[in-house]
């Protein structure tokens, strides 16, 4: 079984590739590691199954999610981005990060079957798989004092 350090590296590298290529945002190590996302946030998640099963999730504040969507859509003023556009954009980001991570770990995990992404909006959002869950968590600085959390939750699958 692939170890957590490899998952962590794949998660960070996959996220950086997507954000730099498609969103034109550089992700850096957080300057304040203890910083938390305050207030409402968006959570994009996508599930996978096969030799391992679980979900990959991306969480960020509302202003950060609007920045992401605005960059993807080529809109100059993030305030003009509506919630539907944010959800669609964050779903695509989640899907692409999962694809990018999957391609980095498939030598060890084999082919993973991936769902369609979902995006929710609210306070204190978190993903859980219940018992027997392993979790890899990566927090990054996305500029403008915004942080983005990436998590990869998994457990042994049926196959």
């Amino acid at each position: 079984m692939i170890d957590e350090i490899c998952f962590s590296a794949a998660l960070l590298e996959g996220a950086k590739e997507v954000f730099e290529t498609m969103i034109f945002m550089d992700l850096e190590e957080p300057s304040e590691p203890d910083e938390q996302i305050e207030g409402d946030s968006f959570l994009g998640s996508i599930t996978f199954t096969n030799s391992i099963e679980g979900c990959l999730a991306i969480r960020c504040s509302v202003p950060c999610a609007k920045n992401i969507a605005a960059n993807m859509l080529g809109i100059d003023t993030p305030e003009e981005v509506n919630e539907e556009e944010v959800c669609d954009a964050l779903g695509e980001v989640t899907n692409m990060v999962m694809g990018s991570v999957k391609s980095r770990i498939q030598t060890e995990t084999g082919e993973l079957l991936v769902s369609i992404p979902t995006v929710i909006h609210g306070q204190n959002l978190a993903s859980s798989l219940g018992n027997r869950m392993s979790k890899v968590f990566v927090k990054v600085d996305a500029g403008d004092e915004e942080i983005i959390e990436f998590s990869f939750l998994y457990r042994e699958g049926d196959k």
Partner: protein, 124 residues
């Protein structure tokens, strides 16, 4: 020579990104169409075939692989080049969709250079 393009993806955001990336690549089309699912794509292709179709794989209602099979059944689209654009990177899936009649594959995330490389052979 005039060229036409259709982008098939259930995400409106992704359709916009693909269109913007194509513009950045320097490729120009006389007519561009968008479809949010396979059914809509087939309706539009029946009305007016296109030269190149860019198609997602993982879509609700009708998967990209099914879209490819149905497009290949349309005699009016026998010359349409189909390029899959997807996060799906499994060799099995790629082999399967190519066997069904797709002409190429672009992985997400992508760059303007990748569109230039994959589409320019079909532009002349």
């Amino acid at each position: 020579m005039a060229k036409s393009l259709m982008i098939v993806d259930d995400s409106a955001t992704m359709r916009k990104i693909i269109m913007r990336t194509i513009r950045m690549s320097g490729l120009e089309f006389d007519r561009t169409e968008e479809a949010g699912n396979g059914v809509e794509a087939l309706e539009k292709l029946n009305a007016a075939p296109v030269d190149i179709m860019l198609c997602d794989i993982n879509m609700p209602e009708m998967s990209g692989t099914e879209v490819v099979r149905k497009v290949r059944e349309l005699s009016s689209c026998s010359e349409t080049k189909i390029i899959m654009v997807s996060t799906e990177s499994s060799q099995d899936v790629m082999d399967s969709v190519m066997a069904d009649g797709a002409n190429g594959f672009i992985a997400k995330p992508f760059t303007p250079e990748k569109f230039q490389e994959k589409l320019s052979p079909y532009m002349n």
